[in-house]
Structures are given as C-alpha cells and as structure tokens.
Amino acid sequence: MKTRIIFSIVIALVILVAGCTPGGQASGNLKVAVLAPLSGQNPTFGASTRDGALLAIDEWNAKGGVLGKQIEAVVEDSQCAADPGVNAANKVIDQDKVHYIIGEVCSSSSIPISEITEAKGVVQISPTSTNPDVTIKGDGTTKEYVFRACFIDPFQGTVMAKFALDKGYKTAFVLFDQGNDYVRGLAEFFEAAFTENGGTVVGKEAYTSQDTDFSAILTKVADANAEVLFVPDYYPIVNLVGAQAKEKGVTAVMMGGDGWDSGDLDRAAADGGFYSNHYSPDDTRPIVQNWVAAYQKKYGAIPDALATLAYDATNLMLAAIEKTGADDPAKVKDTLDTISFEAVSGTITFDPQHNPIKSAAILQVKDGEIVYAGTVNP
C-alpha cells in the first residue's frame, strides 16, 4: 500500500516536472549555456562576458534564430573557480539538456569544465581562457569538443614579430623574465617568427622580476644598435625599462604584448612603443564598428576585450550549428574543426590544438595616448 502511494507520487512528480520543464527538443528552442564568473573575485569579467554573449544571441534571434529555432540562453554563475564551474556545467548539461556551452572566462574553471564537456559530448568554446590545458588532455591529445576563441599568449610573440618585419625593422633585441612563463613564451615565439621571416635577433637578455637596475642590459642594447626592443612583460617592468632606456641612448622601438594593457602603463616611458591586444574599439573594419555601436546602444559603454571575445565565441558557435544544419554536437564539433569564421577579433580558423589562428590588434603609445596602429594577420 505504502509503496504504491510513494510510487504514484513519484510518477505524478515526474509528469509534473516533465510538463513544466521546457524540454530541450520538445519546446523547439535551441539552448546555449553561458558560464561566467558573475560573483567571486572577478565579477566584472563575468558581467562583460554575459553581456557580449547575450547580445550575440539577441541578434541571431532577431534574424530568425538557428535552424529555424529561437535560441534560449541559460546563464550560470561559475565564479572563476573549479567547483562552482563543475556544478554549473553539470546543472546545465543534465538538468537543462544543453548541448553547447560558452565559457568559462578563467582557465582555472574552464579546465575542469572541459573534462565534463569532453566526456558528455557537449561542445564548449571558452572565450578567454589562455591556458594550453583547456583544449589539450593530459596525454597531449586534443580534446575533441573543446575550443577557445582567444589566441594563446605566446601567439602574440608571433604577431609582433610579423608586425615588426612589416614595419621594415630587421634587427631586434629581446628582453625576458626567465621566471615568468607568459613572458618567456612570448619571447620564444617572437624570436622564432622573427628569425624565420628574415629578421635577426641581435641579442637576448634574461632578467628576474625583482630587478630594478636595467642599466647594464640597456647599455648592451644601445651597443647592439637594434631597431626593435621586445619587452613582453607586464607594465611595471615596461615602465622601468622605458624610463632607463632613453637615458642609456637606446633608440630602438619598444614592443610587447597585452601585459602592457593597463591604465598604469607609464605613457611617457613607453612612448612610441607598440603592443598587441585581442581587439581595439578603434579598428575601422565595419564588423568592429557595428559591434561597438550595438554594444554601446544596449549597455552604454565601450565593449572591452572580454565582451568582444564572448560575442565572437557565441557567434562562432551559432554559425557552426547553422552550417552543420543539425542540432548535433558530434557534427558541430567537426564543423568547428574546419570552419573559417569572420569575427570581430579577426577571422578565426582552428589549428590541430583547437587554438584559433587569427589576427591581433596592434596599439601604439603615442604622445600620452593609446592609438590603434593596425591589425596583423599571422
């Protein structure tokens, strides 16, 4: 008797839940999850990412959706951390029956999420996680279902080498912090690309992050008479090197990566220098200007790199679904492997490790302003 009551209650609940929950296929909507850190240490990262992704979904819905279905966004707070990220991913996959995930922002959260998406066959595009392990398994093979929309850090070294050569510079001096993976990666990629394409690296010097006196190194730079001084470090070191370089008679043009991108960059010290970034709102391409205008209209602010990459990741996902012609993650991931998609931050194609090969924006420090100096295709 008792079991029968419980049994019927359970059945009643199941029917109720099934009736209430808009089931993935049944409702006719296509669901895309956005996992972003809306609370925790970096809530502004999450807000930008969500805003960028939702704007992309709104635009697709206004055009009639994907495969004739409206797109429904499932936004979850994954807090830029492992456990909340895993919980959010399990929730959207098991409960909301989502097949496509945009996220996370932070590598620390994207890596554990990617283990789940890879195991459950859900396509994941991280907009901004730069750690190589996001798309690569422990044994070195690529995770089939996991992609990213941003270039990985060292790629900026390749871009800057190409930019320097395009500008007509033939010799470069590379400075790097030997204890910092980010800086070393950029320096190695710069050197490889620069020498491969006909430039000469006339000198290479390592320093440590606690150094303040760069006089000995800069005297060597001046003596080597290089045209480019590549300093791919964060802004505090760039400020110190820049301030001492002019005093030591260094005439080389300073160049670096997105570590320079800070309000605290000493614009007098870094004057004339170039650095790479994911995108610039001053880029004149129509796709960029349309995006900036749309974002400004909806949110009243200039979109930052996080919003832009989230917008790109979402558009990329939806375009891949549309191109596949079916709501089938296993086929969508194959489409992504071969796609060539024009995004705001550059035309995206994927390399075998699922890292995008795309252009970067080059910015210049000029008379106390940061100005857009061009876009470089790899």
């Binding site: 606690q210 006089s215 000995a216 005297t219 505090p236 110190l240 005093e247 030591k248 005439t251």
Partner: protein, 376 residues
Amino acid sequence: MKPSLATTAPSPTIFQQIIHKRWIGKSLIIVVSLVVIWRVITALLENPSVFVQQVVNGLQLGFVYALIALGYTMVYGIVKLINFAHADVLMVGSFASYYAISRFNLHLWLSNVAPNLSPTISLLVGTVTVLVFAMLVCALMAFAIERTAYKPLRNAPRISALITAIGVSFFLEYFGALNFVFTPNFISFKRPFPVTTWALSSSGIQALESGVAPPPGSVLFSNIFIIIVISSIVLLFLLQYIVKRTKVGKAMRAVAYDKPTARLMGINVDGIISITFAIGAALAGAAGLLYAIAFPQIVFWMGIIPGLKAFIAAVLGGIGSIPGALVGALIMGQAEVLSAAYISTPMRDAIAFSLLIIVLLVRPTGIFGEPTLEKA
C-alpha cells in the same frame, strides 16, 4: 706523569689547518680575482667604450648603495644593532618625495616664487628641497621608531633588539601597503627634473637628443648620474664632518666606545643614540629620493633588495666604518653591473650575495674593519 704531552700538542689535522688559516676563503678569492681580472681585460680590449659605460652604470648604483650602507654602519657602530628597518625607511623616503613632487609640486617652489630665474637653477634648488624634505621626514620617523621600539630594549639582550628591528621593518612595509597609506600598487615616480644625457666621445661632449643614436664609441652620462654622485659625496663629507669635528660627533664616538663611561662624563646617551638613528634615517631618505630618480617606480616592498645589498656593502667594507661603507658600496655596484654585463643578468644577485660569503670566510671584519675581539 707524561712531560711529552705538555710540549708536543697533537699536530693539527689538515682540515683544522684549512679552517684555521682560512684557506677556503683565500683560495676562493684568488680564483675569483683571476677570473675577474681576465674578464675585465678581455672586456676592455673587446669594446673599451662599452666597458667604461658599464663602469659608469656601476658607479651610479654604487653611490646609491653607499648612502644606504652609511645608515647601517652608523647605527651598528654606536648601538651594535643591525637596523633591518633601515631599508623600509628608504621606501618611506621615496614615497615622501613622491608626494612632495607629484601632489605638492615642492620641486617647483622657486620657479613659482621667482619665475625669471633660469630653469636649471630653480629645478636644482627644488630638487635639493625635496631631498631635504625626504631626509627630514625620515629622520623624524626614525626618531619616533627609536623612542617607541628600540629605547625600551636598550638593556635587553641584543637579539631582542634585532628581532624588534625586523618587526619594525614588516610594520613599515605592510602599513605602507594599506590602501589609505601608500597603496599596494606600483606607482610611477615623477622625476623632479627632465633627464638630459650627454655623450662623451673623441669629438667632445654633446647633449643627446631623444631618438638620436649616440656617436659610436661614446660614453653616456646623465644629469641623474651627476646628481647622485654629487649628493652622495656631499652627504658623505657632511657625515664625516659631523662625526669627526662636532661635539655631537665626539659624543657619538664616546658612546660607541664605552656607554657607561660616556654617561658618567655627562653625555646624554639616549639623546645621542636617537640622533644617530635620525642621521642614519636621513641618509636613507636621501637615498630613497635618489633611488627613485634612478629607477622611477616605487612600491611598498621596494626597499628590501637595495637594503640587503647595502647591508652586504657595509659588511664588505667593515661594518661600523664610514669609509668602509663607501668602498664596500662601490664594489657592490661594480660587481652587480659588471656581472650583469659580462657574466649573466639573472646571476647578478647570486654574485653580489656570494661576495658576502667570501668576505666572511676571509676577513669577517670587512676591508676597513678592525680585527679586534668582540667588545663585552
């Protein structure tokens, strides 16, 4: 009864001889100096102007270290305390000059009062004003620190005072890191004067324009270098004058020699010790401004590394000796810059710190130190 035992002590083993005669240190010194001489000669022959340039770079660094080392050496000479908070007084000196320059435009006061004066003179006077301001702030702060933290421990074991000094050091650092004090961020230091660089070459001296490469074979020096060297030398002579020629200096030397007797002679020992701390801190304050001018970025932990190196310089020269601090600091500056230039940049600190080990192995009292027995 065995008379032979008394006359022939067991002959010392080879290991005891090595330790006793300090052979390890001596052989290390010989090897190191041979390598250094060989490197210097090859570097000089290879490219003389670059070598001279590196020596100039080393001098600039060495003179800044000298100012810091003087503070260590003075305080140690009188109260036998290694004042580890000294490095953080340097940091406070840098921040004091930063606020004086960026917030209050103290370096421009003369050009505001007398706008017709040539900018060189008014900026020079302004820079000296900032220097004096930083020295005053640091001296006052050191006076307060001495009264609150060190004076109550005057008769405590020396180790207690040393630990207190470390405590004061951490207090200054992390109090400075608070958001409403100095903030935990890197701050770009605004130099009180525009930097001018001159190139000295066979065709004479010429000012270098920005973006123009210096003539080949020239040696560059900037107004930063001149200001650092001149102010260090002036402060050094001033200190030497105070210690050797004034009544206060005489009292300092008396306190250093024998505290109880000095007190019996009517010297206010506590007052003299406070003055010593204040003078040492004033030098650190001056060093704070000069260090920030040379390397224009300040942050709350900026004092630690130059402080450690200046401490080594003081030990190298013989802690307690004023000329020793200068010589030790100049050696440190050269060792650091030349090893960065000709051996390896990441190794520079390792080389600088191994100097300390070698000195301690060979001559624990330092170059100018008196090899006397420890005073009771």
